[in-house]
């Protein structure tokens, strides 16, 4: 492991990669701050750029964007009570009241230190958990992988769209259907191509991500007539206050951070749960841990109340890399985008990644530390200025997002057809978004479609067409039972539980 850490450090500390982490953190913070534009959009916009780099550099850039976007989301939660991402909603409960009390600088500092500590502690957990889990996952067989993929899709559907489970499942099926377009990987038989040569290679992953996130989010903002930059214009540099914390505040954070890091990491590892659930759970649990006096301050500007969700959401980000790096199965929409990007580089994450491509495996883990440090020393002092940049009018922001989306896909294919297809998917996604059809399950399904079919193929061929492979092995049986429980729990919650 020491050798691996050194390889990772050597790669991550190269001048080019440090620069990439800095750019990623900075760009991610700006995009993450904008309400409605989250880490997935930020990463999607970066993918075409990363294809010009080595895989490790590209992945390091995207990891930086991810952390930056989560941190950016916290900033808009605190300053304007408009969370950039769902994972930072709980941050606004105590962050915004602090800002209203003239302690915005302090709230930002608590968020930054908590994010840093949570992310760093979780990255240490990842350092030990990932190689161990990689060894364990070598024992996994095709039926287990097939079951795990269904579990991931079911869990993301259950958690990403609260109360809209069936809508999410429709999105899963749509994502798998889009993934089935093109030649069959084994027999090369064309499927759903309709004699159109442009579809022979299937639909590009970048195209689907750009269309369903960057482009459709931009169109949704215009369609709804909302202006995410309006509130940012009201931020006054002079009203942010000091970023220094006193002894008592530091003491409170020291007790909150370790427990919230553990909660965040564990929730992050679970498929589908992610930073939103981690932050809410940490907030709720912290409220039970503190003394009655502090409990009264929750919702009114509590240091513990702000530190807990911030620690947990960043720890969950690190945790979500565990299933991606060790099993090759992303547990969230954001890591699904990263998996798609990795596959684009010709790299298959999974238990053998850290044997076949140790420099990628370890450099991603090491770059997380570097990303955290950069977020702390670079972004915290710059936040007031970055917040100012956000006052860029909507009339400029939206066309620039559309321009980056179209350019991104054009640079990959130099083909008009892909642009039309992207616009078509974006229009459909915009309408679906309007009626609360969640997009992360679609992306996860699209990325997993090929792998899922491959594992189903192997399982059915081994079992000679019998579906008994779903319960033959104890591990597969456990996974299938979990899936059934999630489905029944969702149906019960949605249709039978009294409101």
């Amino acid at each position: 492991m020491i050798e691996g850490i050194l390889i990772g450090l050597n790669t991550a500390l190269s001048l080019k990669n440090i620069l990439m982490v800095m750019i990623g953190c900075f760009a991610g913070t700006i995009i993450g701050m904008l309400p409605g534009l989250g880490p997935m959009t930020a990463i999607a916009l970066m993918i075409p750029i990363t294809y010009g780099f080595e895989p490790s550099t590209g992945l390091i850039l995207m990891a930086g964007v991810y952390y930056g976007a989560v941190f950016g989301g916290s900033t808009s939660s605190i300053l304007i009570n408009a969370p950039g991402v769902p994972g930072t909603v709980a941050t606004s409960f105590d962050g915004y009241p602090m800002a209203q009390q003239g302690k915005a600088g302090k709230a930002l500092a608590i968020a930054a230190y908590s994010s840093f500590a949570g992310g760093t502690i979780a990255a240490i957990f990842l350092l030990f958990a990932a190689p161990s889990l990689s060894k364990v996952s070598l024992a996994f067989r095709s039926p287990d992988y097939f079951g795990l993929m269904i579990l991931g899709l079911t869990a993301v559907s259950a958690f990403s769209a609260k109360g809209h489970f069936l809508k999410a499942m429709m999105m899963v099926v749509l994502g798998l259907m889009l993934a089935s377009v093109g030649q069959d990987t084994l027999s090369d038989i064309p499927r759903f191509v309709f004699n159109n040569m442009n579809l022979a290679d299937g639909i590009s992953f970048v195209l689907v991500v750009m269309a369903t996130f960057a482009m459709s989010e931009a169109l949704t903002i215009i369609f709804k007539g909302s202006d995410p930059t309006q509130a940012a214009k009201q931020i006054s540099l002079s009203k942010l206050g000091s970023i220094r914390l006193d002894k008592e505040e530091t003491k409170k954070m020291v007790t909150t951070i370790p427990r919230s890091s553990i909660i965040g990491f564990i929730i992050g590892v679970l498929p589908g749960a992610g930073s939103t659930i981690a932050s809410f759970l940490a907030y709720g649990m912290e409220r039970n841990f503190v003394k009655d006096e502090e409990k009264q301050k929750f919702g009114k500007g509590s240091v513990n109340g702000l530190s807990a969700p911030e620690t947990a959401n960043n720890a969950a980000c690190s945790g979500s890399f565990v299933p991606l790096l060790t099993l090759g199965i992303p547990g969230s929409g954001t890591t699904a985008v990263m998996l798609g990007a990795l596959l684009g580089f010709g790299i298959q994450p999974g238990p053998r990644l850290y044997q076949t491509n140790p420099e990628i495996f370890w450099s991603v883990i090491m770059s997380m530390y570097i990303g955290m440090v950069i977020l702390l020393i670079l972004n915290l002092p710059l936040i007031p200025y970055i917040a100012r940049i956000l006052a860029v009018p909507r009339a400029f922001l939206i066309p620039l997002i559309l321009f980056f989306s179209v350019t991104g896909i054009y640079l990959m294919s130099f083909n008009n057809f892909d642009i039309y297809l992207m616009i078509g998917i974006a229009v459909v996604a915009t309408i679906l978004r309007l009626y609360e059809f969640p997009m992360p399950p679609l992306i996860l399904a699209f990325v997993l479609g090929g792998l899922m079919e491959e594992n189903l193929r192997r399982s059915l061929l081994i079992s000679d067409g019998s579906w008994a492979f779903l319960w033959d092995r104890p591990l597969t049986l456990c996974i299938m039972i979990t899936i059934v429980l999630i489905v029944f729990w969702q149906i019960y919650n949605s249709y039978f539980k009294k409101k």
Partner: protein, 156 residues
């Protein structure tokens, strides 16, 4: 009787899944693969049934959390204009070249969204695209075919 828009979307998805299933059955597989436990059309057929199942279920079951969208407040004009501009951008990008089509797309989009500060409209179009193209060529070594700039003799 008012039908929920989400139920209509589910109905559309049901029909779409039906078509998908029909075309899944039309996929031609090798004759030796016809009776194999798994062939090129097995997975798509399951997907077609899954689509019918979930959309059918949504249509049948009552809606506990209906989506309330006020259609009258949506900005159709600007959204449709932007979509049309993107399509025109897609049509012209190969023929007119990246520089001209992108710059014009940006200008028209800014104006569509109500921007009237012409200095910024201009700065964030032609010069911005020129710098962006320079970065693509210089930094990422990506060549962009551009008949317009070639005609002007700026690129080879």
């Amino acid at each position: 009787m008012k039908i929920s828009p989400v139920k209509i979307i589910s109905l559309l998805f049901f029909v779409f899944s039906g078509f998908y299933l029909y075309y899944a059955h039309q996929i031609r597989v090798f004759s030796f693969d016809e009776d194999a436990p798994f062939n090129a059309k097995t997975f798509p057929i399951y997907l077609g049934y899954a689509g019918l199942f979930f959309s059918g279920l949504y249509m049948v079951l009552p809606e506990r959390m209906p989506s309330n969208v006020s259609l009258s407040v949506l900005d159709y004009k600007k959204t449709i204009t932007l979509v049309v501009l993107m399509i025109i951008y897609g049509v012209t990008i190969l023929k007119a070249g990246y520089f001209l089509s992108t710059s014009l797309f940006l200008i028209l989009s800014y104006v569509t969204l109500g921007e009237k500060r012409w200095f910024w409209v201009f700065t964030l179009s032609f010069p911005f695209v020129a710098i962006f193209m320079f970065l693509l060529h210089g930094l990422l070594d990506i060549y962009l075919r551009d008949p317009f700039l070639k005609y002007l003799g700026i690129i080879g």
